[in-house]
Amino acid sequence: MNHGNPESTAREASMPSENDTRGRYKCVADVMTRKTVTLSPHHGFAEAVSLMADRHFRHVVVADTGGQILGVISDRDILRTLARTSNWQTKDVGQIMTRDPITVKCETPISVAVAKMVAKRINCLPVLDDEGKVCGILTSTDLLKAYQKLLESLENNRATL
Protein backbone atom coordinates (compact mmCIF):
# COMPACT_ATOMS: atom_id res chain seq x y z
CA MET A 1 0.00 0.00 0.00
CA ASN A 2 2.93 2.35 0.38
CA HIS A 3 6.56 2.41 -0.51
CA GLY A 4 7.96 5.01 1.81
CA ASN A 5 7.47 7.79 -0.73
CA PRO A 6 6.39 10.83 1.24
CA GLU A 7 4.21 12.15 -1.58
CA SER A 8 2.23 8.99 -2.03
CA THR A 9 1.91 8.69 1.72
CA ALA A 10 0.46 12.17 1.91
CA ARG A 11 -2.03 11.39 -0.85
CA GLU A 12 -3.08 8.15 0.73
CA ALA A 13 -3.45 9.87 4.04
CA SER A 14 -6.22 11.99 2.60
CA MET A 15 -8.20 9.00 1.40
CA PRO A 16 -10.41 7.84 4.24
CA SER A 17 -11.04 4.39 2.81
CA GLU A 18 -7.36 3.55 3.08
CA ASN A 19 -7.21 4.27 6.78
CA ASP A 20 -8.10 2.54 9.94
CA THR A 21 -10.62 5.05 11.24
CA ARG A 22 -11.80 3.38 14.42
CA GLY A 23 -12.04 5.61 17.46
CA ARG A 24 -12.62 8.79 15.47
CA TYR A 25 -15.44 10.14 17.60
CA LYS A 26 -16.42 13.77 17.87
CA CYS A 27 -19.09 14.40 20.44
CA VAL A 28 -20.48 12.99 23.64
CA ALA A 29 -23.44 11.28 21.93
CA ASP A 30 -21.00 9.08 19.99
CA VAL A 31 -19.57 7.43 23.10
CA MET A 32 -21.98 7.88 26.03
CA THR A 33 -23.89 5.12 27.80
CA ARG A 34 -27.56 5.46 27.00
CA LYS A 35 -28.84 3.04 29.61
CA THR A 36 -28.75 4.71 32.99
CA VAL A 37 -29.86 3.60 36.42
CA THR A 38 -31.71 6.24 38.34
CA LEU A 39 -32.45 6.45 42.05
CA SER A 40 -34.84 8.72 43.85
CA PRO A 41 -33.48 10.91 46.67
CA HIS A 42 -35.54 8.83 49.11
CA HIS A 43 -33.65 5.58 48.54
CA GLY A 44 -31.54 4.51 51.52
CA PHE A 45 -27.76 4.50 51.82
CA ALA A 46 -27.69 0.69 51.93
CA GLU A 47 -29.64 0.42 48.68
CA ALA A 48 -27.15 2.64 46.91
CA VAL A 49 -24.22 0.63 48.30
CA SER A 50 -25.61 -2.74 47.27
CA LEU A 51 -26.58 -1.44 43.83
CA MET A 52 -23.00 -0.37 43.22
CA ALA A 53 -21.38 -3.42 44.78
CA ASP A 54 -23.57 -5.89 42.85
CA ARG A 55 -23.62 -4.20 39.48
CA HIS A 56 -20.58 -2.89 37.73
CA PHE A 57 -21.16 0.82 37.94
CA ARG A 58 -19.83 3.52 40.16
CA HIS A 59 -22.30 6.31 39.40
CA VAL A 60 -26.03 6.58 39.68
CA VAL A 61 -28.11 9.53 38.60
CA VAL A 62 -30.60 10.86 41.13
CA ALA A 63 -33.70 12.30 39.48
CA ASP A 64 -37.21 13.34 40.44
CA THR A 65 -40.31 11.59 39.10
CA GLY A 66 -40.36 13.92 36.10
CA GLY A 67 -36.85 12.89 35.05
CA GLN A 68 -35.26 16.21 36.06
CA ILE A 69 -31.81 15.64 37.46
CA LEU A 70 -31.25 16.37 41.15
CA GLY A 71 -27.79 14.98 41.66
CA VAL A 72 -25.36 12.15 41.19
CA ILE A 73 -24.29 9.60 43.74
CA SER A 74 -20.90 8.03 43.26
CA ASP A 75 -18.77 5.51 45.06
CA ARG A 76 -16.72 8.47 46.28
CA ASP A 77 -19.80 9.97 47.95
CA ILE A 78 -20.37 6.69 49.72
CA LEU A 79 -16.76 6.49 50.88
CA ARG A 80 -16.85 10.05 52.15
CA THR A 81 -20.04 9.44 54.09
CA LEU A 82 -18.60 6.31 55.59
CA ALA A 83 -15.42 7.97 56.72
CA ARG A 84 -16.99 11.13 58.14
CA THR A 85 -20.43 10.14 59.43
CA SER A 86 -21.04 7.86 62.34
CA ASN A 87 -24.74 7.35 61.60
CA TRP A 88 -24.36 6.59 57.91
CA GLN A 89 -26.88 3.76 58.13
CA THR A 90 -29.67 6.28 58.58
CA LYS A 91 -28.75 8.51 55.63
CA ASP A 92 -30.67 8.54 52.39
CA VAL A 93 -29.50 9.19 48.86
CA GLY A 94 -30.68 12.80 48.89
CA GLN A 95 -28.44 13.58 51.86
CA ILE A 96 -25.22 12.21 50.44
CA MET A 97 -25.52 12.83 46.70
CA THR A 98 -23.59 15.52 44.90
CA ARG A 99 -26.09 18.26 44.10
CA ASP A 100 -26.03 20.33 40.92
CA PRO A 101 -23.61 17.99 39.19
CA ILE A 102 -21.54 19.12 36.24
CA THR A 103 -23.33 18.01 33.10
CA VAL A 104 -22.75 17.94 29.37
CA LYS A 105 -24.95 17.85 26.28
CA CYS A 106 -25.06 15.28 23.49
CA GLU A 107 -23.24 17.64 21.14
CA THR A 108 -20.45 18.62 23.57
CA PRO A 109 -17.06 17.83 21.98
CA ILE A 110 -15.40 14.84 23.60
CA SER A 111 -12.22 16.77 24.43
CA VAL A 112 -14.28 19.29 26.40
CA ALA A 113 -16.00 16.51 28.36
CA VAL A 114 -12.67 14.81 29.16
CA ALA A 115 -11.14 18.10 30.26
CA LYS A 116 -14.07 18.70 32.64
CA MET A 117 -13.76 15.23 34.10
CA VAL A 118 -10.04 15.45 34.68
CA ALA A 119 -10.11 19.01 36.04
CA LYS A 120 -12.97 18.34 38.45
CA ARG A 121 -11.66 14.92 39.45
CA ILE A 122 -14.92 13.19 38.63
CA ASN A 123 -15.64 10.06 36.66
CA CYS A 124 -19.05 10.70 35.26
CA LEU A 125 -21.02 13.43 33.58
CA PRO A 126 -24.78 13.12 33.17
CA VAL A 127 -25.80 13.97 29.62
CA LEU A 128 -28.86 16.22 29.36
CA ASP A 129 -31.16 16.92 26.44
CA ASP A 130 -32.47 20.36 25.58
CA GLU A 131 -35.28 20.07 28.15
CA GLY A 132 -32.81 19.31 30.92
CA LYS A 133 -33.78 15.64 31.10
CA VAL A 134 -31.20 12.90 31.48
CA CYS A 135 -30.61 11.12 28.18
CA GLY A 136 -27.44 9.29 29.08
CA ILE A 137 -24.33 9.24 31.18
CA LEU A 138 -20.72 9.67 30.11
CA THR A 139 -18.26 7.78 32.30
CA SER A 140 -14.51 7.50 32.33
CA THR A 141 -14.97 3.90 31.13
CA ASP A 142 -16.83 5.07 28.01
CA LEU A 143 -13.93 7.43 27.33
CA LEU A 144 -11.27 4.79 27.95
CA LYS A 145 -13.00 2.52 25.44
CA ALA A 146 -12.98 5.28 22.87
CA TYR A 147 -9.32 6.07 23.56
CA GLN A 148 -8.38 2.42 23.33
CA LYS A 149 -9.97 2.15 19.87
CA LEU A 150 -8.23 5.32 18.76
CA LEU A 151 -4.84 4.09 20.03
CA GLU A 152 -5.25 0.79 18.22
CA SER A 153 -6.12 2.46 14.96
CA LEU A 154 -3.21 4.90 15.28
CA GLU A 155 -0.86 1.97 15.93
CA ASN A 156 -2.37 0.18 12.97
CA ASN A 157 -1.87 3.16 10.71
CA ARG A 158 1.68 3.57 11.92
CA ALA A 159 2.38 -0.08 11.22
CA THR A 160 1.07 0.11 7.65
CA LEU A 161 3.14 3.14 6.76
Binding site: N19, R24, K26, L79, V114, S140, L144, L154
Partner: protein
Protein backbone atom coordinates in the same frame (compact mmCIF):
# COMPACT_ATOMS: atom_id res chain seq x y z
CA UNK B 1 -12.89 15.30 5.71
CA UNK B 2 -11.68 14.67 9.26
CA UNK B 3 -10.04 11.36 8.59
CA UNK B 4 -7.17 12.54 6.43
CA UNK B 5 -6.06 15.00 9.06
CA UNK B 6 -6.14 12.30 11.67
CA UNK B 7 -3.82 10.15 9.66
CA UNK B 8 -1.36 12.99 9.41
CA UNK B 9 -1.25 13.23 13.16
CA UNK B 10 0.46 9.88 13.39
CA UNK B 11 2.75 10.58 10.43
CA UNK B 12 3.97 13.98 11.45
CA UNK B 13 2.69 16.16 14.22
CA UNK B 14 1.84 19.21 12.14
CA UNK B 15 2.89 21.19 15.18
CA UNK B 16 0.37 19.44 17.37
CA UNK B 17 1.26 17.82 20.68
CA UNK B 18 2.90 14.50 19.90
CA UNK B 19 0.85 11.55 21.02
CA UNK B 20 2.00 9.34 23.85
CA UNK B 21 2.45 5.71 22.85
CA UNK B 22 3.71 3.73 25.81
CA UNK B 23 3.15 3.51 29.55
CA UNK B 24 6.40 5.31 30.46
CA UNK B 25 5.18 8.40 28.58
CA UNK B 26 2.29 9.06 30.95
CA UNK B 27 2.63 6.99 34.15
CA UNK B 28 2.76 8.62 37.59
CA UNK B 29 5.91 8.05 39.54
CA UNK B 30 4.65 9.40 42.87
CA UNK B 31 2.97 6.61 44.76
CA UNK B 32 1.07 6.22 47.99
CA UNK B 33 1.86 2.95 49.70
CA UNK B 34 0.35 1.09 52.62
CA UNK B 35 1.47 -1.84 54.68
CA UNK B 36 -0.73 -4.92 54.81
CA UNK B 37 -1.22 -4.33 58.54
CA UNK B 38 -2.87 -0.95 58.30
CA UNK B 39 -6.46 -1.18 59.44
CA UNK B 40 -9.35 -0.88 57.05
CA UNK B 41 -10.41 2.31 58.85
CA UNK B 42 -7.00 3.93 58.42
CA UNK B 43 -6.97 3.09 54.73
CA UNK B 44 -10.45 4.54 54.20
CA UNK B 45 -9.43 7.74 56.02
CA UNK B 46 -6.31 8.04 53.89
CA UNK B 47 -8.31 7.52 50.72
CA UNK B 48 -10.93 10.08 51.65
CA UNK B 49 -8.28 12.68 52.39
CA UNK B 50 -6.19 12.11 49.27
CA UNK B 51 -6.95 12.52 45.59
CA UNK B 52 -5.83 8.95 44.92
CA UNK B 53 -8.11 5.95 44.58
CA UNK B 54 -5.41 3.29 44.48
CA UNK B 55 -2.72 2.47 46.99
CA UNK B 56 0.01 -0.07 46.50
CA UNK B 57 0.39 -2.40 49.45
CA UNK B 58 4.06 -3.17 50.00
CA UNK B 59 5.70 -5.89 52.07
CA UNK B 60 8.43 -4.93 54.54
CA UNK B 61 11.03 -6.14 52.03
CA UNK B 62 9.67 -3.89 49.31
CA UNK B 63 7.80 -6.50 47.28
CA UNK B 64 4.29 -5.73 46.10
CA UNK B 65 1.63 -7.45 48.22
CA UNK B 66 -1.44 -6.11 46.48
CA UNK B 67 -3.47 -3.08 45.51
CA UNK B 68 -6.04 -1.43 47.74
CA UNK B 69 -8.65 0.50 45.79
CA UNK B 70 -11.89 2.31 46.41
CA UNK B 71 -13.69 -0.62 44.79
CA UNK B 72 -12.21 -2.98 47.37
CA UNK B 73 -13.64 -0.76 50.08
CA UNK B 74 -17.10 -0.82 48.55
CA UNK B 75 -17.02 -4.55 48.02
CA UNK B 76 -15.95 -5.13 51.62
CA UNK B 77 -18.73 -2.90 52.79
CA UNK B 78 -21.38 -4.68 50.83
CA UNK B 79 -20.31 -8.22 51.63
CA UNK B 80 -18.40 -8.32 54.89
CA UNK B 81 -20.45 -7.99 58.05
CA UNK B 82 -17.46 -7.19 60.33
CA UNK B 83 -15.43 -5.01 58.01
CA UNK B 84 -14.44 -2.66 60.83
CA UNK B 85 -12.16 -5.38 62.23
CA UNK B 86 -10.38 -6.13 58.95
CA UNK B 87 -6.94 -4.97 58.03
CA UNK B 88 -5.77 -3.95 54.58
CA UNK B 89 -4.56 -7.42 53.59
CA UNK B 90 -8.01 -8.87 54.23
CA UNK B 91 -9.65 -6.45 51.81
CA UNK B 92 -7.07 -5.62 49.15
CA UNK B 93 -6.80 -7.18 45.69
CA UNK B 94 -4.06 -9.82 45.84
CA UNK B 95 -4.02 -10.76 42.19
CA UNK B 96 -2.50 -7.66 40.64
CA UNK B 97 -2.20 -7.04 36.93
CA UNK B 98 0.88 -5.06 36.01
CA UNK B 99 2.48 -3.27 33.08
CA UNK B 100 6.03 -2.47 32.07
CA UNK B 101 7.23 1.00 31.00
CA UNK B 102 7.34 -0.25 27.39
CA UNK B 103 3.76 -1.57 27.32
CA UNK B 104 1.82 0.17 24.51
CA UNK B 105 -0.97 2.40 25.82
CA UNK B 106 -3.59 0.49 23.84
CA UNK B 107 -2.60 -2.69 25.68
CA UNK B 108 -2.70 -0.94 29.06
CA UNK B 109 -6.14 0.50 28.26
CA UNK B 110 -7.60 -2.81 27.14
CA UNK B 111 -6.14 -4.56 30.18
CA UNK B 112 -7.92 -2.04 32.42
CA UNK B 113 -11.17 -2.34 30.51
CA UNK B 114 -11.26 -6.13 30.33
CA UNK B 115 -10.29 -6.58 33.99
CA UNK B 116 -12.54 -3.75 35.11
CA UNK B 117 -9.73 -2.08 37.00
CA UNK B 118 -8.43 1.47 37.00
CA UNK B 119 -4.77 1.09 37.70
CA UNK B 120 -1.76 -1.00 36.78
CA UNK B 121 1.43 -0.90 38.85
CA UNK B 122 4.40 -0.51 36.53
CA UNK B 123 7.43 -2.77 37.01
CA UNK B 124 10.85 -2.03 35.59
CA UNK B 125 13.29 -4.61 34.27
CA UNK B 126 14.80 -4.93 37.76
CA UNK B 127 11.46 -6.25 39.02
CA UNK B 128 10.79 -3.21 41.19
CA UNK B 129 7.78 -0.94 41.11
CA UNK B 130 8.71 2.18 39.17
CA UNK B 131 5.32 3.80 38.81
CA UNK B 132 1.60 3.41 38.43
CA UNK B 133 -0.63 4.08 35.47
CA UNK B 134 -4.25 4.92 36.19
CA UNK B 135 -7.31 5.53 34.09
CA UNK B 136 -6.91 9.24 34.89
CA UNK B 137 -3.42 9.27 33.33
CA UNK B 138 -4.94 7.69 30.22
CA UNK B 139 -7.79 10.22 30.14
CA UNK B 140 -5.35 13.14 30.32
CA UNK B 141 -3.49 11.73 27.37
CA UNK B 142 -6.76 11.13 25.49
CA UNK B 143 -7.84 14.71 26.10
CA UNK B 144 -4.70 16.07 24.45
CA UNK B 145 -4.90 13.94 21.34
CA UNK B 146 -8.69 14.24 21.04
CA UNK B 147 -8.47 18.03 21.24
CA UNK B 148 -5.92 18.11 18.43
CA UNK B 149 -8.07 15.76 16.34
CA UNK B 150 -11.12 17.97 16.82
CA UNK B 151 -9.09 21.06 15.94
CA UNK B 152 -7.79 19.47 12.78
CA UNK B 153 -11.38 18.54 11.79
CA UNK B 154 -12.41 22.15 12.11
CA UNK B 155 -9.39 23.28 10.09
CA UNK B 156 -10.11 20.74 7.39
CA UNK B 157 -13.78 21.60 7.16
CA UNK B 158 -12.94 25.28 6.93
CA UNK B 159 -10.41 24.77 4.18
CA UNK B 160 -12.81 22.78 2.01
Amino acid sequence: MEIGAVKNLSVDDRGMPSSATCVADIMSTSLVTLSAHHTFGQAVQLMTNSPFRHFLVIHADGRLAGVFSDRDVLRALGRTPNWQGKNVSGVMTHKVFTASPETPLSVAASEMLSRRINCLPVFGKDGKVCGIITSTDLLRSYQKIQASLENSCITDEASM
